[in-house]
């Protein structure tokens, strides 16, 4: 969103995220906004056949995420989601990588048990719709 429409649109998404997870649970990365770093999933890198180089590229993003101490990283873009999930996996999952739609529905109490692929154990059984 930010890449295509600029920082002001990213502020709208911050409003959504804060509304969903609660202001006190939202942690900014450093640096953020247009100073933030690419995760390394885009530009075709995921399919380019250079996994070592791609993970080397992703170190900067992994360290950024680890520095926040956050348990969840929201990744609305598919390329980012795959890359950030992979960066977490090779480190034995210090964080969960989730789509924004998952957290929106979780906060609304309408997320069913089969829609929780990317939630961690701490949220797997929280407010399960239909349970």
């Amino acid at each position: 969103m930010r890449k295509s429409f600029g920082d002001p649109v990213a502020e709208d998404l911050r409003f959504v995220v804060k509304s969903v997870v609660g202001e006190e649970n939202f942690i900014e990365m450093v640096p953020n906004r247009s100073n933030n770093y690419c995760c390394g999933g885009g530009g075709g890198f995921l399919q380019a056949g250079y996994p070592e180089e791609r993970r080397k590229y992703g170190e900067m993003k992994a360290n950024q995420i680890l520095s926040t101490g956050a348990g969840y990283c929201i990744t609305p873009c598919h390329n980012c989601h795959s890359q950030i999930h992979d960066l977490s996996e090779i480190r034995d999952h210090p964080w969960q990588s989730v789509h924004l739609w998952t957290l929106i529905c979780l906060s609304l109490g309408i997320l069913g048990e089969n829609e929780r692929e990317y939630l961690g154990e701490d949220l797997k059984n929280v407010a399960v719709y239909g349970a």
């Binding site: 247009s34 590229y57 739609w101 529905c105 609304l108 309408i110 829609e115």
Partner: protein
């Protein structure tokens, strides 16, 4: 250990850089580099394969066309554009990288990207995973039916396919219908709750476009045109791409 110095010949000039400049508005500012290194200092691709953004640009500027055009770094840079953002002269290095990719013979470009692009060209769904119009419609309808039955609050939820005149045309990354269809549902629920008038299309539904990453202009233009036509044919006002 330092690397042996690259020798610059007296007669070499950068045909590549001149060609790229012709293609870019105001030459992409490619001549304006102050060599400050702001681009490289904040770039995650710095050092991969011994290359970085400044070096890549300087090599082009110094006429090392062959070295630039065969550097695999063109595929290690994601063209994220942060270097333009931090550059005092707003030099468009990612576009230089794009044209470097384009200078590779098509059959030598990364197999994975090429395969995904070629697959997307096979039918009008534009799916890089090869999902057909029938596959997509079946999965959407099947999953919808299942959730309508299992979750009573959503018995009226819709996931329309080819709904003429819908306000939003929604794209979907191939990964969901092909490998994790349940992941489509949270998005449908949100659209249902807000009362959005939306539709998928059997044509042009796939959000991804690997032909762009391939720097294959003709192909990625084709993909965009197929998708745009699908949106227009259904008379939708807004095209939403979740990619």
């Amino acid at each position: 250990m330092t690397e042996p110095a690259i020798k610059l010949g007296g007669k070499r000039r950068s045909v590549f850089l001149d060609k790229v400049k012709e293609l870019l508005p105001e030459g992409g500012n490619l001549d304006l580099c102050l060599t400050c290194g702001a681009c490289s200092s904040g770039c995650p691709a710095t050092g991969i394969g011994g290359m970085d953004a400044r070096k890549f640009l300087r090599m082009a500027a110094l006429g090392l066309d062959e070295e630039v055009m065969k550097s695999e770094w063109a595929w290690h840079c994601t063209m994220c554009q942060r270097c333009i953002y931090v550059c005092p002269m707003k030099i468009n290095i990612p576009q230089l990288v794009f044209y470097a990719r384009q200078s590779w013979p098509r059959e030598e470009r990364p197999k994975g990207i090429r395969g995904s692009c070629d697959m997307a060209l096979k039918n009008d769904t534009c799916s890089a995973m090869g999902a057909t119009e029938e596959d997509f419609q079946f999965v959407v309808e099947d999953v919808l039916e299942e959730y309508r039955e299992a979750q009573p609050d959503f018995k009226d939820m819709e996931a329309p396919v080819n709904k003429q005149g819908a306000y939003y045309f929604l794209n979907q990354n191939s990964r969901e219908p092909v490998t994790e269809p349940d992941e489509m549902v949270p998005l449908w629920k949100i659209l249902h709750l807000v009362g959005a008038d939306w539709t998928y299309g059997t044509k042009g539904w796939a959000a991804e476009n690997y032909c762009m990453f391939m720097a294959d202009d003709e192909s990625w233009k084709h993909i965009v045109e197929v998708k745009a036509k699908a949106v227009e044919d259904l008379g939708c006002k807004v095209w939403l791409n979740t990619e």
